[in-house]
């Protein structure tokens, strides 16, 4: 297994990128940032499509800075599947092994294996033009992995898909990434949450913040990160109808996740309502909490909460008028409620599901 080290300066027109980044062997790191933050430039530099002004790109300890893309062993799954239109799905997946000198029969056998792993076995004989966006992206994922890259780059892999197709494919990616070293570029915090061990936040060509995914997303240390993330996350295990926290509480969710797998319940601070007294006991997702801090956040005030149960570490966005009405200040005791409709449960990275799926594919 190989890691990735990137320490580069690169310019594109007036845009400048200066990044120092490491991805450990088998680790998935998400690069989060808005459009124009340098995400695509970073990917182009790592994949070899753009030569940096200075610095070094290392894959598994090999300096690949001056190597062309075909000698780097860096795979790419882009927003568009870009399947070769003249080849069947199976031949597309077999392309990588064939290019590396594997015999035709062995390459096609491997291709069928990978197609099965991404749940696309039934499309093996189809041309890309006969595949939906989600199906094509599954085949593209199989193709990228079949080439056995040392590092896989994922460039907004779900951005071009229907909203309906995204969760299923995200699940597939999570399952097959397993021990694959990968760099995931996205503007969607949920992608990072589901797939990445660590998050790097990029802004205007520089790293603004980095750390373990859940920590960065739930407790952003910079206003910049808070703007693009700032989600409430409650870790636990997915159960039918919601999420079970470590201390046994149930968080009800309208959008359930993969049952029995490690997961997080996700909702926006604006979906948390704050009440002075106990909320009607028949309501779901209620808890008592204590205000720890109040911060201005755009037009609203972000109320930071602590508490004994799952309310710990949550944030609620209230209007200044509501904050005044409730006479909130640090130390105030409150009761909170989160509507189940606003809660989604997502499988989180670091699960154990991949161990089984990896075992039978026999990859070393």
């Amino acid at each position: 297994m190989s890691g990735l080290r990137v320490e580069v300066e690169a310019s594109r027109g007036r845009f400048h990128l200066g990044v120092s980044l490491r991805v450990g062997p088998g680790e998935v790191v998400a690069v989060l940032g808005p459009n124009g933050s340098g995400k695509s430039t970073l990917l182009a530099v790592v994949s070899g499509l753009l030569r940096p002004d200075s610095g070094v790109v290392e894959v598994g300890g090999r300096a690949v800075t001056d190597l062309p893309p075909d000698r780097r062993r860096v795979g790419l799954l882009a927003q568009d599947a870009l399947l070769f239109p003249h080849l069947t799905a199976e031949a597309n997946v077999a392309f990588g092994p064939r290019s590396r000198g594997v015999g035709k029969r062995a390459a096609h056998a491997a291709a069928r294996d990978w197609l099965a792993q991404v749940g696309a076995a039934e499309f093996a004989d189809r041309r890309p033009s006969a595949l939906s966006g989600g199906q094509a992206q599954r085949v593209a994922l199989a193709r990228a992995l079949a080439a056995a890259p040392d590092v896989l780059l994922l460039d907004e892999p779900f951005a071009a898909l229907d909203v309906d197709a995204t969760p299923a494919l995200r699940g597939v990616v999570r399952r097959v990434l397993g021990r694959q070293t990968a760099l995931l570029v996205t503007h969607d915090p949920l992608d990072a949450l589901a797939l990445a061990d660590r998050v790097v936040v990029l802004g205007s060509g520089a790293i603004v913040e980095q750390g373990p995914t859940r920590e960065v997303l739930s407790r952003p240390r910079t206003a910049f990160t808070a703007r693009i993330a700032g989600l409430n996350l409650i870790p636990g295990t997915a159960v039918p109808g919601g999420l079970r926290t470590a201390d046994g509480a149930l968080v009800a969710a309208a959008t359930p996740g993969p049952v029995d797998e490690p997961a997080v319940a996700v909702f926006r601070p604006a979906d948390v309502s704050v009440h002075p007294g106990p909320v009607d006991g028949s309501q779901r997702n209620t808890a008592s909490a204590q205000v720890s801090a109040l911060e201005p956040h755009g037009d609203t005030i972000r109320v930071r909460l602590t508490g004994p149960g799952w309310a710990a570490g949550l944030a609620a966005d209230l209007t200044p008028a509501a904050v005044a009405d409730l006479a909130l200040e640090p130390g105030s005791r409150v009761h909170i409620r989160v509507k189940a409709v606003a809660v989604a449960v997502h499988g989180s990275a670091g699960g154990s599901a991949w161990v089984a799926s990896r075992a039978w594919c026999g990859r070393t």
Partner: protein, 262 residues
């Protein structure tokens, strides 16, 4: 039966459209009307005619092959190379397309003729007035058709598939063979058809550079021109033969290649 409704085709456009069609079709009809159908087989099977037909098809086939072998790589270089000055080269390639063929023939003569720039450096090699000259003249006028069409197709296809192939570990030659070429195959087909048709009809450059020697350089168009002075029926018969060849080319090429030109 339900039929889709077509919207917004101005009736006025029909008038020039019909006139344009008439301009293309009526001359051929006129040719048919002038032909003495009974004498046609004899004229077409005449010794001079058969030799010209054979020479035409053979030289056009060789020139088309040359267009592919030389023009194909040129199109790839023009479309993909980032070397400075490639834009200028692209304009130069169009030259035979806009140059009157007679001028092209003269230019070839002064390059490859006995006292030409290159011809004088090749003692013992005589190019003008040989079958080789016919092939060179045809390749000269026909190649831009293939190069321009193929280059356009390469640009439209873009480099994204090639970039993906490279990230999958394919070396440049593998990428070219397994990705670039298959993607532009329809354009190669249409380019070949157009080049062949252009080579088959080539007259001006051929007569200036290769002359009109029976069995050696006298292709069908040259034979038609010659007969038009002396044996009109023969000229008409051979013209119809060229029409048939043209229709055959279109029939073989359609709809994939010619319509794939876009």
């Amino acid at each position: 039966m339900t039929r889709p409704v077509r919207t917004g085709l101005p009736v006025l456009l029909w008038v020039p459209a019909v006139a344009a069609l008439a301009l293309v079709v009526l001359p051929v009809v006129g040719l048919l009307g002038r032909a003495d159908l009974a004498a046609l087989p004899g004229k077409v099977a005449g010794p001079g005619a058969l030799a010209a037909l054979r020479l035409s098809v053979e030289t056009a086939a060789v020139s088309t092959a040359l267009c592919l072998v030389l023009g194909g790589p040129l199109a790839v270089v023009l479309a993909r190379s980032r070397v400075r000055g490639v834009r200028l080269l692209r304009a130069v390639v169009l030259l035979p397309l806009v140059l009157p063929p007679v001028v092209g023939g003269l230019a070839l003569l002064y390059l490859l003729g006995r006292n030409g720039l290159l011809g004088s450096q090749l003692p013992g090699v005589r190019i003008p007035y040989t079958t080789a000259a016919v092939i060179i003249a045809q390749t000269f006028v026909a190649m831009p058709f293939l190069v321009v069409g193929l280059e356009g197709a390469l640009r439209t296809a873009g480099e994204r598939y090639e970039a993906v192939a490279a990230t999958l570990g394919a070396r440049p030659w593998t990428v070219f063979r397994r990705v670039t070429v298959p993607l532009v195959l329809p354009a190669v087909g249409s380019g070949l058809v157009l080049s062949f048709a252009r080579a088959l009809g080539e007259f001006g450059a051929t007569i200036t550079f290769a002359g009109s020697l029976e069995g050696v350089t006298r292709t069908l168009p040259l034979q038609v021109y010659l007969l038009a002075e002396t044996d009109v029926d023969g000229a008409v018969a051979l013209s119809l033969l060229l029409v048939v060849l043209a229709v055959l080319v279109i029939a073989v090429a359609r709809p994939r290649a010619v319509e794939g030109l876009r």
